[in-house]
Symmetry: C2
Subunit: 125 residues, 2 copies
């Protein structure tokens, strides 16, 4: 089990050091170890948790809900069902999000087709 400096953690997790500090401040990260001089020391576990946070964040989960999830995760075994439901609800939202993106992308593609036609007419072979 290795340990990582803030800079390493930032690099590996994809969050900036400032964001790591911010996440700890608001409670998304808890129990981050400190060395003798007060500096953060991240563990493999922390990195894994950051991976989860990144995944939730990139799929558009608001911080407030990630916070809820963190609280549950700290709660132990009896919160597993609630965590499951939270993630399932999120999964459905991601599904909808993708569907809407696809649909709107079709419109963009249609417009692209339209412009391609216009370009051809305007500048024929």
């Amino acid at each position: 089990m290795s340990s990582y400096s803030p800079a390493e953690t930032a690099e590996k997790s994809g969050f900036s050091i400032d964001t790591l500090r911010y996440y700890e401040k608001i409670g998304l990260l808890s129990g981050i170890a400190r060395n003798a001089s007060g500096r953060r020391v991240f563990s493999d576990n922390d990195l894994q948790w950051l991976g989860m946070l990144r995944c939730l964040r990139e799929t558009g989960m608001p911080i407030a809900e990630m916070l809820r999830y963190s609280e549950l995760a700290r709660g132990g075994a009896e919160t597993v069902r609630e965590r499951l439901e939270l993630l399932q609800a999120h999964d459905r939202r991601v599904e909808e999000q993708i569907a809407r993106l696809r649909e709107q992308q079709e419109h963009v593609k249609f417009k692209i087709g339209f412009y391609q036609g216009a370009v051809c007419e305007g500048a024929p072979v």
Copy 2:
């Protein structure tokens, strides 16, 4: 060719009246007609343009780039190629966005599977 009040336009376009005013103020909407007493009167054309804006917005295009697109759209035929390129670039970004979402969704689903296992063990039949 019908005309629409701000309220109708808001309802049909899905943007709030405030957002319509904001869009006009910043230049995303131009040449919106006014009646004798200074109120906005939207045309079918305006509605169509709003549909395009909505589509770009929902696919995550920043306002600044939509503004660029609006300027080009006002520019007439000689900007068609640039508009085409802008939309093509956007289309690629949307594609990436969807791919990333799908990938992260897989992680969420994996976690869901994990919790489902945990729930089963914790509360067997």
